[in-house]
């Protein structure tokens, strides 16, 4: 936060699903090491936005630059960007036919061409970090939701990304498990990872976020420090939104 080096730059990004205008000119800069939390009502375009950061969705107008690489149809750029950006989904999306450790080593082996032994070492290190080393040889189906989500985080980290995107990582979890996952995310933030997080966990946002952003109807409505966002919102729309979730 001291250096202020921008790593994600979105400039007037528009996206249509057919006729539906999902993103209506989003401009947003995220700096290296910053933790940004996106909030907003359902359907406001939060998922769409962070998925464009990862080239899972394309966009029709504007420009997105990740770590100096412009997102375009260029195949190599897309691959390069995906190598820099890790993503964690609401539904975990672990690969059910692979063990936990295979899930984690898959991308390092096939994309980064690490030798198997190295990849395994890395995976074990990561599993330790997210606190489920003992589950390494189980299949995802045998884990609880919280454990699965932690594996998903480890899997994303295994590519050693510069940026991590989280799309409601805790909303499919039971309350006890939410804590475990948020704990892992907190520790990531402490280690200086750049993170964009879609979540409605106000506690997490207050404590960890450098900036909280409200999206509505495809627009950025308000972007502020957590303190000012929750205690002193500038926009009417934000106040209204907060009154619902608090």
């Amino acid at each position: 936060m001291s250096e202020q080096k921008p790593i994600i730059i979105a400039d007037n990004v528009h996206k249509w699903y057919g006729k539906f205008h999902a993103l209506r000119g989003i401009s947003l800069t995220v700096n290296l090491g910053e933790v940004v939390v996106l909030m907003g009502p359902s359907g406001s375009g939060k998922s769409t936005l962070i998925r464009t950061f990862n080239a899972l969705e394309d966009y029709q107008k504007g420009k997105i630059e990740i770590d100096g690489i412009t997102l375009s149809h260029d195949l190599r750029n897309i691959e390069a960007i995906r190598r820099e950006v890790g993503m964690v989904f609401q539904q975990f999306n672990l690969f059910p036919h692979l063990t936990v450790i295979q899930n984690i080593t898959l991308a390092p082996i096939w994309v980064r061409h690490l030798p198997k032994v190295k990849a395994k070492e890395l995976a074990i290190q990561l599993l330790e970090r997210v606190g489920i080393l003992e589950q390494a040889y189980k299949y995802p189906g045998q884990l609880s939701g919280g454990q699965q989500q932690r594996v998903a985080i480890a899997r994303a980290l295994a590519m050693q990304p510069k940026i991590m995107l989280f799309d409601e990582p805790t909303s499919a979890l039971d309350p006890e498990m939410v804590r475990e996952v948020l704990e892992v995310m907190r520790s990531l933030a402490r280690d200086g990872m750049t993170m964009v997080v879609v979540t409605h966990e106000v506690g997490f946002a207050r404590e960890v976020a450098d900036r909280v952003i409200l999206m509505d109807n495809g627009n950025l409505v308000e972007s502020a420090t957590p303190d000012s966002f929750f205690n002193n919102p500038q926009e009417e729309r934000t106040r209204q939104f907060l009154s619902q979730i608090l």
């Binding site: 890790g86 993503m87 898959l106 991308a107």
Partner: protein, 378 residues
């Protein structure tokens, strides 16, 4: 008594149904039995047993067929053992099975050689099953490779070449040919079917439409038409010098046909995979082909396995149509046997016999498919 009351006569209409069924059963059973004992002449089966199974394969080379059988049954037993390693076995059933096999060995009028080979094969089956269960973890990763390797070996053993006396395809007849053609066709149609299925679900419009066109046209045609096409018209589409062996042409016809159905089965599997899987894989930086190879296909195929086994059963039955285009597979050899002057007109016995063979194989496979399905659900 209680059982009877509860299961057969619990209501008045059930009682009527029971009686009607009994009468029907008795009538059919009596007819079949009296025919089988009084009228039928089973000599045609006994004398031609070898023809039914291996046709005109040179008798001096039967050992090659036996080895093939040994390889195939060992692999099958191994696979079976690995797949069901987690289920408990019903040892009573296995004992009974072994007993029946021993009875077959002892009491059927077989020559010593045959008995010896059968004994070896039975031992291999049991050993394979046991090994598969015992070391399922160690064996599992090698199984598909073993199957893959077994194919060329089997072909080498049957067809000869590379140091073995060659046996032309015109001598591969009977059940041997039926099994070979069904197996080869399903194996070959597998990759084609997978490609077609991927093409059909692809977002490239031309590719998608071509695949749809192929799949739907083939599925709209009767198999006999396709086989006729392959057998009679295929040569017309090839440049004059190229001649395809007719067994090969038959296989080509079967593959054309079954690839379209395979594609639909695989597509069923593909559709069962949540979109999130692909997205997660992409987000990890895997490129399109790796996503398909590492993530999509393994899961889709697992879902599609029961349907594929079902398709294999269908194909196995459908090979009988090849007799209509002059191939001497099981049904074809039956027709040849029916032309032996001393057995003219014995069609009932012959067709019943081959019907039984078909049934045994298909039923066994459908049982296996059902257990597999159960296994996969867990």
């Amino acid at each position: 008594m209680n059982w009877l009351r509860k299961n057969l006569f619990n209501t008045w209409y059930n009682s009527i149904l029971t009686v009607v069924c009994l009468v029907l059963l008795f009538w059919i059973g009596w007819g079949v039995l009296s025919w089988a004992i009084a009228q039928a002449q089973w000599e045609v089966i006994g004398v031609n047993l070898r023809l039914f199974f291996v046709g005109r394969f040179p008798p001096t080379l039967y050992w090659r067929v036996w080895i093939v059988l040994a390889i195939a049954s060992t692999l099958l037993a191994l696979t079976w053992g690995v797949f069901f390693s987690k289920q408990s076995v019903n040892s009573r059933r296995i004992n009974l099975f072994a007993l029946i096999l021993c009875g077959v060995l002892l009491f059927l009028p077989l020559d010593l050689n045959t008995r010896l080979w059968l004994l070896i094969i039975i031992i291999l089956i049991f050993a394979g099953f046991w090994l598969g269960r015992r070391w399922s973890g160690a064996i599992a990763p090698w199984l598909s490779l073993a199957w893959l390797l077994s194919f060329p070996v089997i072909f080498w053993l049957i067809g000869g070449g590379f140091g073995l006396r060659p046996v032309p395809t015109s001598l591969w007849n009977g059940l041997l040919l039926t099994l070979l053609m069904a197996a080869v066709s399903i194996v070959l149609s597998f990759p084609i079917g997978v490609l077609l299925a991927l093409g059909r679900t692809s977002n490239l419009p031309i590719v998608r439409w071509l695949c749809i066109l192929y799949i739907e046209i083939i599925r709209g045609l009767p198999l006999i038409g396709i086989l006729f096409f392959a057998q009679v018209m295929f040569p017309l589409f090839l440049p004059g010098e190229i001649r395809l062996d007719r067994v090969l042409r038959a296989i080509a016809g079967l593959v054309f046909f079954s690839a379209a159905y395979m594609a639909e089965n695989v597509r069923g599997g593909l559709q069962a995979i949540p979109r999130g899987q692909v997205e997660a894989a992409k987000a990890l930086g895997l490129n399109a082909s790796l996503v398909v190879l590492l993530i999509v296909l393994p899961q889709a195929l697992r879902v599609a396995i029961p349907a594929i086994v079902g398709q294999f059963i269908g194909l196995f039955k459908d090979t009988s149509l090849l007799s209509l285009v002059g191939l001497v597979e099981l049904t074809g050899i039956a027709r040849s046997i029916l032309a032996q002057p001393q057995f003219l007109g014995r069609y009932a016995e012959v067709y019943l016999f081959i019907g039984l063979i078909y049934w045994l194989f298909c039923y066994a496979m459908s049982l296996a498919a059902r257990r597999l399905e159960k296994q996969l659900v867990n």
